[in-house]
């Protein structure tokens, strides 16, 4: 068992931390206030190699292990998870192509993303189908050598800036995955949703009206879609958990800095046990959450089943992030409630980690499903 990072990983973390301090944290409040998509920051991230790290080497990518991606996302999440989501969400739509795409599809859709700044989006959620993906209503009707897609996809991250979409649609009763170029006739992108937090992230509705897709753009076989969509999460959940860990780390650092600087009752705030114990809880939970995340990523990188560990990490990191953001606001008192301090933004940004990429309750269902197949836990 080895708990330390390699020299390369330490360098990667340093690089990501420097990028976060220079590019993300100072611009976080501005993007949160305006809701402007952080294209310039993504361009810089692309230049520094923080985008699309998982694309295989033969298609021009870096093929970084998931653990490395987690290390980077944790640093970026400490600056702003809204911006982190904007520059990290490509992975969610790229993984289905990496898993289930053929050589032609990978060359066509993944390779260009390593050459210039581009975005892609994962179109699965629908107004009536969130956690229960099997309820999707979007249809893909086979006509000749093409499929014609009709349906509405909702809460699509990077939906209005994407160059292509991964779309889950039903062919008859078989959920099937497609890659659909965004400039195809019949695609209507909605306006940006006004969400509670992560304002820098672009979340829109995407409507498919008689969108014709050639069968070469189908991923795997008809009926493979659900499996592809779900397997993607084993890969992406450690990264999501890392974003949540970033929030916890930001909450801890902000609360610690404030508690060490603010005077109250003629002593530093941190001298009060009521405050200092909260900080002790925060750092302990952060470490626990972090190790769970790293373990789930490491298992995936070693080619082992990480479904339970990824679900545990995602669930726990989300819970800890939300709790830490609340405690950070509490330690800052009134200043935790004003939008001129970074604490209240953490609170708004943290909530989504208990919801997207499978709500906390779904993660527990996955964990229990795995336990049911286990005779005893060692």
């Amino acid at each position: 068992m080895e708990f330390s990072l390699t020299k390369e990983q330490k360098e990667l973390v340093e690089k990501a931390r420097a990028f976060t301090k220079e590019w993300i944290s100072p611009n976080a409040a501005e993007h949160d206030r305006t809701g402007e998509f952080p294209k310039a920051i993504c361009a810089e991230a692309f230049k520094q190699g923080f985008m699309n790290p998982h694309i295989p080497k033969e298609y021009g990518g870096l093929e970084e292990p998931v653990l490395n991606h987690c290390l980077v996302m944790e640093e970026i999440g400490t600056g702003c998870t809204g911006i982190g989501t904007a520059l990290g969400s490509n992975g969610l739509s790229q993984y289905p192509v990496i898993f289930a795409g053929n050589d032609y599809q990978k060359k066509k859709f993944l390779e260009p993303m390593t050459q210039e700044l581009m975005f892609s989006a994962y179109c699965v959620t629908e107004p009536e189908a969130g956690s229960d993906v099997s309820r999707i209503k979007t249809t893909a009707e086979k006509i000749g050598n093409d499929y014609v897609i009709n349906g509405v996809k909702w809460w699509i991250t990077c939906g209005s800036v994407a160059s292509w979409y991964f779309v889950l649609a039903r062919v008859g009763d078989k959920p099937t995955g497609f890659v659909v170029p965004a400039d195809t006739d019949g695609i209507v992108r909605g306006i940006k949703e006004q969400n509670l937090g992560q304002h820098a992230s672009n979340t829109v509705r995407v409507t498919f009206e008689d969108v014709k897709v050639p069968q070469e753009y189908r991923l795997g076989e008809e009926g493979d879609g659900f499996k592809i969509a779900m397997k993607t999460f084993d890969h992406t959940r450690p990264g999501i958990a890392s974003g949540a860990n970033g929030i916890t780390k930001a909450a801890l650092n902000i609360a610690l800095t404030y508690a060490k600087g603010r005077r109250s009752f003629d002593k530093k705030l941190i001298s009060n046990q009521g405050v200092s114990f909260k900080l002790a809880d925060m750092v302990t939970k952060l470490d626990a959450s972090r190790y769970m995340t790293y373990l789930s990523a490491d298992l995936f990188d070693k080619g082992q089943d990480n479904a339970r560990q990824a679900a545990q990490a995602k669930w726990y990191a989300g819970e800890v992030a939300m709790w830490a953001a609340v405690e950070c606001c509490q330690i800052l008192g009134g200043y935790g409630y004003t939008n001129e301090m970074p604490a209240e933004k953490l609170l708004r940004d943290a909530k989504i980690y208990q919801i997207y990429e499978g709500a906390a309750e779904i993660q527990k269902m996955i964990i229990v499903a795995k336990l049911m197949r286990t005779k005893e836990v060692h």
Partner: protein, 237 residues
């Protein structure tokens, strides 16, 4: 079209601000945007607007301004001369700019219609009057800007303790430039507008008029910036 223009202006202003202020943060009490350059060697800063004493910390690139004190008994300016004086140049200079513009249009019209044309009678009659009014407005605006500078400087010394805030440095520099450019405009004005019209028959007058309006435009820009920054310093965000 308008939104594109606004984006361009925002980009220009943003670039200028970034160069001048460097990294900024907001006072958590009055929301005034402050520069890291405003912080003293001990990491402290007194907010020029609300007077709280801020201890500035930073973690992971996030600014954490911690308030541990407040300047309750800060010196208040006597009779508030600076806010009163500042409205003379801000009010009169744009009117002078407008007057000069109207005279220029009238001069161009006289030139186009022929010097002796009867149609130009009104223009020829009204232009010298307007020219006199314009010059008086210009004169008062430039003169009062000197007084405004002086009262502002005293305010800075008394109310703000002479602390080198970037926003006040900007005001001082722009005010000085405005006075300098204003004096040049005052000297140039009688050369450009001879007997109330621009003698466009003389080919030299076209570049001279151009220079005059470039200076007027620059002064207008400085005045607008000064007014905006000054208002921001008084009322906050």
């Amino acid at each position: 079209m308008i939104s594109d223009l606004m984006k361009l202006v925002d980009k220009f202003v943003g670039g200028f601000k970034k160069r001048l202020y460097g990294k900024t943060f907001f006072c958590p009490v009055c929301h005034l945007e402050l520069s890291y350059y405003d912080v003293d060697v001990n990491g402290n800063l007194v907010c020029p607007l609300c007077g709280v004493v801020i201890e500035l910390h930073e973690t992971y690139g996030h600014s954490i301004p911690i308030v541990n004190d407040v300047e309750i008994n800060r010196a208040q300016p006597k009779k508030r001369l600076h806010p009163l004086a500042t409205h003379f140049p801000i009010g009169l200079f744009p009117l002078a700019f407008l007057g000069a513009l109207i005279i220029t249009i009238a001069s161009a019209y006289i030139k186009a219609s022929g010097t002796n044309s009867l149609e130009c009678g009104f223009c020829r009659d009204i232009s010298p009057v307007l020219d006199n009014i314009t010059w008086i407005f210009l004169f008062i605006a430039v003169l009062s800007s000197g007084f405004t500078f002086l009262t502002g400087f005293l305010d800075w010394k008394q109310r703000y303790g002479g602390r080198p805030y970037r926003v006040i440095t900007l005001k001082l520099v722009l005010s000085g430039l405005f006075i300098g450019i204003g004096i040049v405009i005052l000297i140039l004005h009688p050369v450009v507008f001879t007997a109330g019209v621009i003698p466009f028959e003389n080919p030299v007058m076209i570049p001279v008029t151009f220079v005059y309006f470039v200076l007027m435009g620059s002064a207008m820009f400085m005045l607008a910036t000064l007014g905006h920054v000054g208002g921001y310093l008084v009322f906050g965000k």
